[in-house]
Amino acid sequence: MRAAIAAAMSRSKREIPHYYLATTVDVTGTVEWLAARNASVPVTQRLLFAALVVKAVALGCRELKGFSGFHREGRYEDSDTVHVGVAVALRGGGLVAPAIMDTADKPLNVLMEEFRDLVARARAGRLRASELSAPTIIVTSLGDSPVDTVFPIIQPPQVAIVGAGAIAERPWVVAGQVVPRQVLGLSLGADHRVTDGRLGARFLARIAERLLDPGSL
């Protein structure tokens, strides 16, 4: 496992000219929306914030080309359908990123159910090889760790990866006043062979806008 990760990440760092962008998003409204939603449904239908990020990324990929696809044999091809991979840390070390297939088309409750199933099977060692090769982009969430911003490394032949840190209460300026708000560090690692920082910034901004409007997810 460690050797496989080392090989993939070494190749990534050797071959992919990464650029990294990060932004901090006031997600207080979305956190409140999620808490209210989760309080009104049975436990089996509760969502994790990470599911919202996954869906927002999938929708962002549909709006802007250059982030969901494969760079192979010297050329990039954007994928017709978006399969967002979710990075799952394994206990005792290691990491896998199976795909939630056709992510952009799935309602949140279906997406969450599949997300739960993937994590459970990843940790039980019961993933299919096709699930591991399918992702067209990956979301890596360190929301359970004391991390503000992830600087994520692309998994080749993909060309982008989105990171989410922990949601934390921070002093924030709203209408000229400093107030406590729940903020999220959202980041992007992307491939300079395919896109540039300006497009990457638009991509990140689209994801953030979606997150701020959870009803649209």
Partner: protein, 81 residues
């Protein structure tokens, strides 16, 4: 169900949702997160299993009460139908 029986059931459910955790290695007084990197997905799966097997729907705001085996048993013991 008495407390010991409840503790056994909870441990069994815990290792069902986290099959990579060795039941004998679980220390009742230490948070799952500190023992085996329990994360929010594990907590949600655990809550789903508790609901399915014990009929207790733990609200999200009470998830902190599920942090360790000891806390869990204390919480569920008074919440059981």
């Amino acid at each position: 169900m008495d407390r010991d029986e409840l503790a056994r059931r909870v441990l069994q459910l815990l290792t069902e949702i986290a099959p990579d955790v060795e039941p004998a290695s679980v220390i009742p007084g230490i948070d799952f997160r500190d023992q085996f990197d329990f994360d929010s997905m594990d907590t949600l799966n655990f809550a789903v299993a508790l609901h399915r097997e014990l009929g207790v729907d733990v609200p999200e705001k009470d998830y902190a009460q599920l942090a360790s085996l000891d806390k869990c048993v204390a919480y569920l013991y008074q919440a059981m139908p």
